[in-house]
């Protein structure tokens, strides 16, 4: 039995050990960027390997869930972090960012993410959330030459603190109402209560706290500023990993509450509709590409919330499938943006992208494919993922919500198109020094590129993985 416990937390240990050794490296061998990168790469890869080879065990070890569902998000989040790490390498090297801080903190963020998605107890959930948030504050503000990055870091910090306090307050009420802090039983007990005096505020406060984290409208206002200010590869991590971790936790919460109180259902319905609509409509009028992508990621959270609301086997399948696709496409979009950015300032204005398709063909191709996937056009995974999401919502009896979602997804194509048009069809400087993509970025880009297409053309494999992850829970 003891053996199983160690095996189950092996990925966590590897990440924590990796982070500590990276920090130590900084203390004893300062400036050795290659070494710290190799160390963090090794600990992430080993963590992935450890998670992939150990069989899933139904149930929990201590306060951590070790079921197949946890495993899915564990692997997905680690893969996303690995992608972000690879995309960061060149970016950090060119801008002389301190590798020790950057990579070590990234590993801690990864640890926080898998803790959030795998927690079966509110305590682990909260501690992991704080670990993730603290790491992200550092990562966002890591470019000391950029005032915008500082601003973004502070903004995220203030918002994060407020969100955490909401969450803690909600958890306190939850404990008062149910007397337990184990996630599934406490939520089930809360939902079963006839008297809503305690349970409704508890639900709403927890919802608000998490809403901040995954930037649901109306808790979304920090998102564009932070995404714009943070370095592009960090934004990639921010948009994918930190949100997917919370989505993974949300799947667990919705799973624990099969029959939701009507009032809560109505609130969630409104949140989903508002997030999809406002996210997409606001993205439409953005002049800056990073802000536009930020609003697009807000809208995508709305789609996922819609499918969570639909629930049931189909809804959760759709959410898990879309999580994987979403992680890849936002990583691809922000990552390629980081690869193409000049040293002093990240690409942001639409004009910056003019004729970039000719100067940086490979990175631009990935950005294009990621945008097509975000727009949900075939033959990419984005189309099939959206197909699943909307079908689930229709089937579960939310035709209006699905209709709103479809319509807003239609609108969204207009703003994604602007970037692609700018890169390929607008006049601009077509020749210039060809910048070769580094090996790390190149590997990440090609894998993302292939996977995005593969999940769209042959979705059966990922679908079967997702179904297995849900069936063994």
């Amino acid at each position: 039995m003891m053996h199983d416990v160690w095996l189950a937390i092996l990925p966590h240990l590897l990440l924590a050990g990796g982070a500590v050794s990276v920090y130590l490296c900084g203390a004893f061998r300062p400036g050795n960027q290659g070494l710290v990168f190799a160390l963090s790469l090794a600990s992430l890869v080993l963590a992935i390997a450890a998670a992939a080879v150990t069989p899933a065990m139904a149930g929990a070890v201590g306060l951590l869930d070790t079921g197949a569902f946890s495993r899915f998000y564990l692997l997905l989040l680690l893969a996303v972090c690995l992608g972000a790490l690879l995309l960061l390498q060149r970016y950090a090297h060119l801008r002389r960012l301190s590798g020790e801080v950057l990579y070590g903190t990234l590993l801690l963020a990864a640890l926080g993410m898998i803790g959030i998605a795998g927690a079966s107890h509110w305590l682990v959930f909260f501690v992991s959330l704080e670990l993730l948030s603290l790491s992200l504050y550092i990562l966002i503000a890591i470019r000391r030459d950029q005032p915008l990055a500082y601003e973004a870091g502070i903004k995220y910090f203030v918002m994060g603190a407020v969100a955490s306090s909401f969450l803690v307050f909600g958890l306190g009420l939850l404990y008062a109402a149910t007397g337990t802090l184990a996630i599934a039983p406490s939520l089930a007990a809360l939902a079963a209560k006839e008297d809503m005096v305690l349970s409704l505020p508890a639900f709403l406060l927890i919802l608000a706290g998490l809403g901040f984290k995954i930037s649901l409208v109306p808790f979304h206002l920090w998102t564009p500023d932070v995404y714009e200010g943070a370095p592009a590869p960090v934004t990639a991590l921010l948009a994918t990993g930190s949100k997917l971790a919370v989505i993974g936790a949300l799947v667990r919460f919705f799973y624990a509450v099969p029959a939701m109180p009507q009032s809560l259902l109505a609130v969630l319905w409104l949140l989903a509709a508002a997030t999809m609509l406002i996210g997409n409509l606001t993205a439409l009028v953005q002049e800056k590409v990073k802000r536009m992508l930020a609003y697009s990621s807000i809208a995508h959270m709305g789609y996922m919330l819609m499918a969570l609301l639909a629930g049931g086997r189909q809804g959760f399948t759709a959410v898990l499938f879309y999580s994987a696709v979403y992680g890849l496409m936002d990583l691809g979009a922000f990552g390629s943006l980081g690869l193409m950015s000049p040293k002093l300032r990240d690409l942001n204005d639409l004009q910056d992208f003019q004729a970039l398709g000719y100067r940086r063909p490979w990175s631009a191709a990935l950005l294009t494919l990621s945008l097509i996937t975000l727009a949900g056009l075939p033959p990419t995974g984005g189309f099939f993922g959206k197909f699943l999401l909307f079908t689930a919502a229709f089937k579960a009896g939310f035709p209006w919500l699905a209709g709103i979602g479809l319509l807003s997804a239609l609108v969204s194509i207009f703003y994604y198109q602007k970037v692609v048009v700018s890169m390929y069809l607008r006049d601009g400087r077509k020749t210039g020094r060809r910048v070769a993509v580094d090996w790390a970025g190149g590997v990440a880009c090609s894998v993302i590129f292939v996977l995005l297409l593969w999940f769209g053309i042959m979705p059966a494999y990922l679908l079967s993985v997702v179904e297995r992850a849900l069936s063994l829970n």
């Binding site: 079908t391 479809l406 239609l410 207009f414 198109q417 059966a460």
Partner: protein, 482 residues
């Protein structure tokens, strides 16, 4: 089931060729030759299928059906089938894409590798639309068409190309939205009824739907397809897209993409909801007639030749809609034949206008005249195709127009009468086009050269097809009537 998956080969050959076209960007000749070879091979394969399986009125075509597991979790399978209608449309597709290569020899100078890659992608997706027998597969190819044509218009088009390309994209996507919503509803309705969630066309046809809902879904699907056909009032993207597109883009739009819209209507929307289609016959007839008259009326006022031909496209497609709406066997055969004819004739007219544009750098009717004296061979072709578009007896359009309109006289004489009268209008604006450009005084100071061998070779097969379909439509009709 065949030993050799011929349909898949035909479908994926261009798709495999597309990335290959990109590998030598500095040697444009390579991508051109590759595209020529690949599309030529597809054309030959399509002709071979016609010769070997097209006999006995296409009865043997059913043997070519292919099926494979794809996404079993959602009842989606890879399913292709070929019948007379799709065979003819595939032939048209491969012929026109093949011709697009020499057509763009002069007009496309930059980024030829990407251009040919887009051309091949487009070929695969259009063929996919015509072959798919699973609605998911169909939708996938349907959407896939958009990106290459968007690129072709936006990159190699004329002055306002971006505006036209984006407008085209938005209209098409709005149409796709309706199609997707209708498909998802149908998928869920069928699944709830039979417990078998599938997107196979044959199974979905069996769904029993409440008439009100069926009507809604039919209108949704039709609205989606109507954007592409285009049916009035969803046509406004077309003149812009056609005018701004390079010649190859116009040829593809008119010859292929409009056909996919009409094909979707007659292959999917009508058979899936036959009662709803019957209930909406009048609506479709009226819209078709409006399209016919409205387009002719506007065409009369055009001075840009490309715009004029584009409006004539709307008119001709209005006739196709009428043929589909009446739902008789002759009407349907006429509609498909009209699609083919329109594809051939309009493509030829766009090619001819493109050649004029290369010579005079203008497409204005007011600046070109008296061509008959300057370039007689060109003028001969121009007159020939214009007369074909006007429905001169003995040429192709006459046959299909009569097939569509004559049977309606028995049931709806008013519609048939109005349709025939519209033919006169068509004649008016086409004769105006011919009179302005070919006859009268020479208006331009330039000294154009007559058709080169390459240009003649492009036009000759189209002209022969016009004659063949006009004089001896029997075998083709045999394929369509079965």
């Amino acid at each position: 089931m065949q030993a050799l998956p011929l349909l898949s080969i035909m479908l994926f050959l261009p798709l495999c060729g597309a990335p290959l076209a990109l590998i030598l960007p500095s040697r444009p000749g390579f991508s051109r030759a590759l595209t020529l070879v690949v599309s030529g091979a597809v054309l030959l394969l399509a002709i071979a299928l016609l010769l070997f399986y097209g006999g006995e009125n296409g009865g043997a075509l059913a043997r070519l059906t292919e099926e494979a597991r794809w996404i079993p979790q959602l009842g989606i399978s890879y399913r292709l089938r070929l019948d007379g209608i799709s065979l003819l449309l595939v032939l048209l597709t491969s012929l026109l894409i093949f011709l697009c290569v020499p057509v763009s020899r002069r007009s496309v100078k930059q980024g030829q590798a990407v251009f040919h890659c887009a051309l091949l992608l487009l070929e695969s997706s259009v063929i996919g639309v015509f072959l798919a027998d699973d609605l998911f597969l169909f939708y996938l190819f349907w959407e896939l068409q958009l990106l290459p044509i968007f690129l072709i218009i936006g990159r190699w088009g004329h002055e306002h190309r971006l505006y036209a390309a984006v407008k085209f994209l938005l209209f098409s996507l709005a149409g796709s939205f309706f199609i997707l919503a209708a498909l998802i509803s149908l998928f869920l309705l069928h699944g709830r009824q039979s417990g078998d969630y599938t997107l196979a066309f044959a199974a979905l046809r069996q769904t029993a739907i409440d008439p009100g809902l069926a009507n809604l879904l039919f209108l949704g699907l039709t609205a989606g397809f109507a954007v592409k056909i285009p049916i009035f009032p969803l046509h406004t993207w077309l003149p812009d897209a056609h005018t701004e597109a390079p010649t190859a883009g116009s040829v593809i739009l008119a010859g292929l993409l409009l056909k996919t819209g009409a094909y979707g209507l007659l292959r999917f929307a009508v058979p899936l909801f036959p009662q709803a289609a019957a209930a909406n016959t009048t609506l479709l007839l009226v819209l078709g007639l409006i399209g016919l008259y409205y387009a002719s009326w506007i065409a009369m006022a055009q001075t840009d030749m490309k715009r004029l031909v584009a409006y004539s496209s709307i008119g001709h497609m209005g006739l196709v809609v009428i043929g589909i709406a009446v739902q008789t066997r002759t009407g349907l055969a006429g509609a498909v034949l009209q699609m083919l004819n329109h594809g051939i004739t309009t493509a030829a007219l766009f090619i001819l206008v493109g050649m004029l544009d290369e010579r005079f750098h203008t497409r204005s009717l007011e600046k070109i005249g008296g061509l008959w004296q300057q370039i007689p061979v060109f003028s001969g072709f121009f007159l020939f195709f214009a007369l074909s578009a006007a429905g001169l007896p003995g040429l192709n359009n006459f046959v299909s127009e009569m097939l569509i309109l004559l049977p309606i006289f028995a049931t709806r004489p008013l519609v048939a009468g109005l349709g025939l009268a519209a033919m006169l209008l068509t004649l008016v604006y086409l004769l105006r086009l011919v009179r302005q450009t070919l006859f009268g005084p020479v208006r331009s100071t330039m000294q154009p050269v007559d058709l080169s061998l390459r240009e003649t070779c492009i036009l000759l097969p189209l002209a022969l097809l016009v004659l063949f379909l006009g004089l001896y439509p029997g075998p083709v009709l045999g394929l369509l009537m079965s």
